[in-house]
Point group: C2
Chain length 206, copies 2
């Protein structure tokens, strides 16, 4: 029952946005009477805050699952594809609505901010691991952060004009640039831009 209400809240956020999400709509969507809803979540804020926490867990789980689904002998591009897909998914949209809504809603912000930081840290750690990046080298940490902020920006753009071709081209080039920058031992000297053809795999499992 609580779970149904929180799920319905997230669905309403995706479908109607933060402003268009009313408690009545949520209870209807969840198939729960208004009385029951008010019993479990006395105020709208209680419900939304609970939904934020729930969404945080869902995002963590989806990210972990997506990470596990990345091919064992993967290239940088595979990792970026996974990240790009996550940051264009409904859970990200719901998080975005909450994020933006929380900006002008102090109690909600108090709930969203720490959880968002948590997801951010987890995502960062996961990305470092998948990329096999060495954060002890100066600049590597910042490049990983830049990568995550990039996919966040791409995800934002995707919410209103989903041009996936554009996104893929950008991520293609980013993968190449990232490879060049993260390359532990620069064996080839120069070509800083995408050679339109192949990229050789860099890593094998274990």
């Amino acid at each position: 029952m609580r779970a149904r209400l929180m799920d319905a809240t997230i669905e309403c956020l995706v479908e109607h946005g933060f402003g268009g999400t009313s408690t009545t709509l949520i209870s209807e969507r969840a198939g729960v009477s208004r009385g029951a809803q008010l019993h479990h979540f006395p105020t709208k804020n209680d419900l939304v805050v609970a939904a934020v926490a729930h969404l945080t867990e869902v995002r963590g789980a989806e990210l972990a699952a997506a990470a596990a689904a990345v091919p064992p002998a993967h290239r940088t591009r595979d990792v970026l594809r996974m990240l790009g897909d996550h940051f264009a998914s409904p859970v990200f949209i719901a998080a975005l609505e909450l994020w933006v809504g929380a900006r002008t809603d102090p109690p909600l912000l108090a709930a969203v901010a720490p959880l968002e930081r948590k997801v951010g840290r987890e995502t960062h750690r996961m990305t470092v691991e998948l990329l096999g990046a060495d954060e002890s080298k100066p600049g590597v940490r910042e490049l990983v952060q830049a990568t995550l902020d990039l996919v966040r920006g791409l995800g934002l753009a995707a919410t209103i004009s989903d041009d996936s071709r554009r996104r893929n081209r950008i991520l293609d080039q980013w993968a190449h640039t990232l490879d060049e920058a993260l390359e532990p031992t620069p064996r080839r000297s120069s070509p800083p831009l995408l050679r339109t053809s192949v990229e050789q795999p860099r890593r094998s499992p274990g």
Copy 2:
């Protein structure tokens, strides 16, 4: 009068968010009677759409002014600083509120989407020019787009937790990486990561 109302709309978007912006609030903020407001903008949608157009012009003007203020003998970092600042400014916040609000509001989306594309194109062109990038080379265009999506992502993050140190570190590193990637003639062979010390200027005016 019309201008006062549109300005007040944008201010309300920044202060109270899209959901918290009511026509009554706008008229109060503008110091305009409700009757006058309804005379100039019969519906809320009319007002918001007009504000979107107005905001587009303001953004264009602010960007142009910021671009003009970039030092004549500038480095990549200066351009990124300018972009980073713009995408953390109130006009960007207002645009973000409209952007997210428009996602679930078809008539608003119809007004926002084309204007946003216009600003995007202008910003892209301006950035290419400031960076002196050669878009005829494959991959360059995508790197510029990635840069803009990156600052958009950074701007989004800045709305709820303004960690400017983090942002500056990321942009420092990205400036360096971008320089390496865009460098027309790779004279030095390798160092792909930030040398913590100096970066030499690359361009002089004219």
